[in-house]
């Protein structure tokens, strides 16, 4: 058994991947990463429906193409400003916070 380990270690030159650290990060940050992915999916779907390119989106948002690319990879902790720019550029609603639905009593008014 140890012979096999030695062979593998020798072949690998001791190189180790950081995949398990990446997985740990994703597991620990799953909740907000899911939201980031959901936004990316919505944006991709909207681009397809409206026949827009990423380049056109970046122009409309006034940001670099690299930033749009990052958003679409679903790993970004997006700011409210960026979300608002996406909403305006694509004419979509990504988040909807209504003050009358967040009263401390817990009772929510039906949506208008």
């Amino acid at each position: 058994m140890n012979n096999l380990r030695e062979k593998l270690m020798s072949l690998s030159g001791g190189k180790k991947s950081d995949l398990m650290e990446k997985i740990k990060y994703r597991v620990e940050n799953r909740a907000w990463l899911r939201k980031s992915s959901a936004i990316a999916i919505l944006v991709l779907s909207t681009l397809r429906a409206k026949k827009l390119t990423q380049a056109q989106l970046s122009e409309r948002m006034g940001v670099s193409p690299q930033q749009v690319n990052k958003i679409l990879q679903g790993q970004e902790n997006l700011t409210l400003e960026t979300i608002e720019k996406l909403e305006t550029a694509l004419d979509i609603r990504i988040i909807d916070v209504r003050s009358d639905n967040n009263k401390p009593s817990g009772k929510k008014k039906p949506a208008a």
Partner: protein, 184 residues
């Protein structure tokens, strides 16, 4: 080609390794997991393979739904890997054979963590690996398998990598037995 360790037991060879192809920035296992977590890459994949996606094998499914399902499945795969690596592989009740469930020759799916609340009825993520010992796997890649057979270009690519990896291992004195073919 080279190999890198993904997670290896302290005192044994038990663990997961991956091939790292020349000219690529990272190994194949990292590549696969990163891609499966990337909505943009998944969108591109499903657009390219739209015919296989909508031919009915997985029901009537949109690209958006397919991306969501894939993200869910890879999340569960990560949970399972995280759970097993935290427990360690060097106990009798926890070993990689629990994790890597064989389908066909060198094709596996990751056994979803038993405590997971959500079970995906029919997962389509596949890992391709060479098992060189009871608890030792060398991952050569992974894929989204939308068809029963291996006809897709991306699946053929996985088969080629498997063959290259086998040759590499044999040339470097690492022997293994071919897995039995299990038809699903």
């Amino acid at each position: 080609m080279n190999i890198v360790s993904i997670f290896v037991g302290e005192e044994s060879e038990n663990g997961i390794w991956s091939i790292h192809l020349d000219g690529k920035s990272q190994n194949e296992f990292d590549d696969f997991i990163d891609d499966m977590n990337n909505p943009k890459r998944l969108d591109k994949f499903f657009e390219k393979n739209i015919d296989d996606l909508t031919d009915g094998f997985f029901g009537d499914i949109s690209i958006d739904e397919a991306i969501e399902l894939t993200l869910e499945e890879v999340g569960q795969m990560e949970d399972a890997l995280y759970y097993y690596t935290n427990r360690g592989f060097d106990t009798d009740d926890i070993n990689l054979q629990h994790l890597f469930k064989p389908l066909n020759n060198h094709e596996y799916y990751i056994n979803i963590h038993q405590k997971s609340k959500i079970r995906i009825k029919r997962g389509w993520l596949r890992l391709y690996a060479i098992r060189i010992d009871k608890n030792c796997y060398i991952v050569t890649g992974g894929a989204i398998k939308l068809t029963k057979d291996m006809r897709g270009e991306h699946l053929q690519h996985e088969l080629k990598k498997l063959e290259k990896a086998k040759l590499f291992l044999r040339n470097n004195g690492i022997n293994f037995t071919e897995d039995l073919k299990i038809i699903v």
